[in-house]
């Protein structure tokens, strides 16, 4: 893997779009089904500067994916609104790349074909992007798999292909929903380092959702900690570790401090418990 390959220029498209600032303004989401209401997210205010790397951590079901769908304009919030570069988002925002929580590759397309789908749907000529597609796949370690079909790949490999698909058109805004969730620990570490390098060289605005506190701290300018459902912002922490953080930052006392602080928030909210595991208490029936 090689981060310089990740950085390879996208073909000139005439569209120049710089990094973008996002304002999330009083956003709340209630899902109604029959007569039950699910308050997925309560009321979220958050400003993200252009070129900022933001991570969102929070327990499962707290509305992280929902928040991402709202920011991307794929879901209209029940209340509140989202502004990107000062303009309200009504309907899908297209100047971005999304990595969904599941890889969602098309079964009938090869891996490269899946990566190129992004540009085909944008009515750009896929031919112009083949080279970049290969470079991206090489960079995530899938170079030899470009002509395979998704079912021939492991879950982690599929997810890496989905990441390439989100990067192929070099978008100024990246929304990533647990992009490294299905990766093994080593690949995950490598992908994180590569993503940091990519971000350092391109300064895209990134919203990165993860379950891993370490990952959030190592990657981000700020970490948004969410409460259990209904999701609210419990705390926003500015991560002042020097960059590039690479492999070494893990050993800094400051890193441990911040991780402890976030863990403390989860402990105080009952998301984490010390000792006496609830699982061990569940008796098997004989």
């Amino acid at each position: 893997m090689n981060a310089t390959e990740l950085r390879q220029e996208a073909p000139e498209t005439g569209v120049t779009s710089g990094p973008c600032a996002i304002h999330i303004d009083g956003v709340a989401q209630v899902f109604r089904r029959d007569d039950t209401e699910t308050h997925a997210i309560e009321k979220i205010d958050l400003s993200i500067a252009a070129g900022e790397f933001i991570s969102v951590v929070g327990p499962s079901g707290c509305g992280k994916s929902t928040l991402m769908r709202i920011v991307s304009g794929l879901l209209a919030p029940t209340t509140g609104r989202v502004l990107i570069d000062g303009r309200p988002v009504n309907g899908p925002y297209t100047d971005l790349g999304i990595v969904f929580q599941s890889p969602v590759l098309l079964d009938w397309r090869t891996i490269l074909g899946n990566v190129l789908l992004q540009v085909e749907l944008r009515r750009r000529s896929p031919g112009d992007y083949v080279e970049r597609g290969h470079a991206l796949l090489d960079a995530v370690g899938l170079g030899d798999f470009h002509d395979r079909y998704p079912h021939e790949l492991s879950g982690g490999m599929q997810q890496r292909a989905a990441i390439c698909r989100a990067l192929i058109h070099d978008p100024p805004l990246l929304l990533m929903d647990e992009p490294f969730g299905a990766l093994d620990a080593l690949t995950r570490e490598q992908m994180r380092i590569d993503l940091e390098e990519l971000w350092l060289s391109s300064r895209k605005t990134v919203i990165f959702i993860t379950h891993s506190i370490d990952e959030a701290v190592l990657l981000s300018d700020r970490v948004v900690v969410m409460s259990p459902r209904p999701g609210r912002i419990e705390r926003t922490l500015t991560i002042d570790l020097p960059r590039p953080r690479g492999l070494e930052a893990r050993h800094l006392p400051r890193f441990t401090e911040i991780v402890e602080e976030i863990t403390g928030i989860f402990l105080s909210r009952g998301v984490l418990r010390r000792g006496r595991s609830a699982l061990a208490g569940v008796k098997a029936k004989r």
């Binding site: 991307s72 794929l74 971005l96 999304i98 599941s102 098309l106 079964d107």
Partner: protein
Amino acid sequence: MSRRMQRVIAATRGWRDGIIGFTVLFLVWEVSAHVFKIPKYILPPPTVIWADLMKRYPRMIDAAIATTSEIVMGFAIAIVVSIPLAVIVSYSRPIERAIFPILIALQIIPKIAIAPLFIVWFGFGLMPKLLLVFLLSFFPILVSSITGLKSVPRDILDLARSTGSTELMVFRKIRLPHSLPSIFTGLKVAATLATTAAIVAEFVASDRGLGYMLLEFNGNLETGMVFATVIGLSLIGIVLYAMVEFVERNVVSWHVSQRDAPEKQLIGS
């Protein structure tokens, strides 16, 4: 060895075993017909069926052509009508709500029971048979097409929406290919129903085709010819089904059901 070669060899192995199976079946049948002295009008041995067929086949060919054209035309009309209708229904909830009760009602009516009515309405000839073939094959294609078109995972559609792509492109590149395996499932069900429908229509109208000949042979206790006709009808059905499957294998070779797994011979087709 290339994958394609391996596939061909696997396929011929399936054929070889099938042929052995049938040979054994016919041998047992032939031998027991002689050994147990079963009267020919009850169960003629394969050799007698063959001999009868050789004597009478010219008339059978005309009948077979008539039946085949009813099946193929009715089936084709069903495809041409139901797939576009499925597309419309999959895009419009109001239309779906308006049309579905009618379709369900149509499906619940035993169409074979209203076959005599078709004769009253359309007389004899091609029309009532086409209609019955059409009606029986229409519904499975429609339902499976709608299921396929509406089962695209939300995230894939979200991905498409986030590119600002046109709906036409989403349909061409995502919805349609995604629904093909499901559409082909419907087509295969419809292919078998189409054959049944044509025979029933010919029973009722009694003026042409293999169905009509079957009644006639049966009335004359020409059991050998009854068997020959049934085999002919089965062949038509099998060929139609095999053709659909052939197209399927080439169009949706990427689908789970088409991947070369050794079990496929048993579970699939």
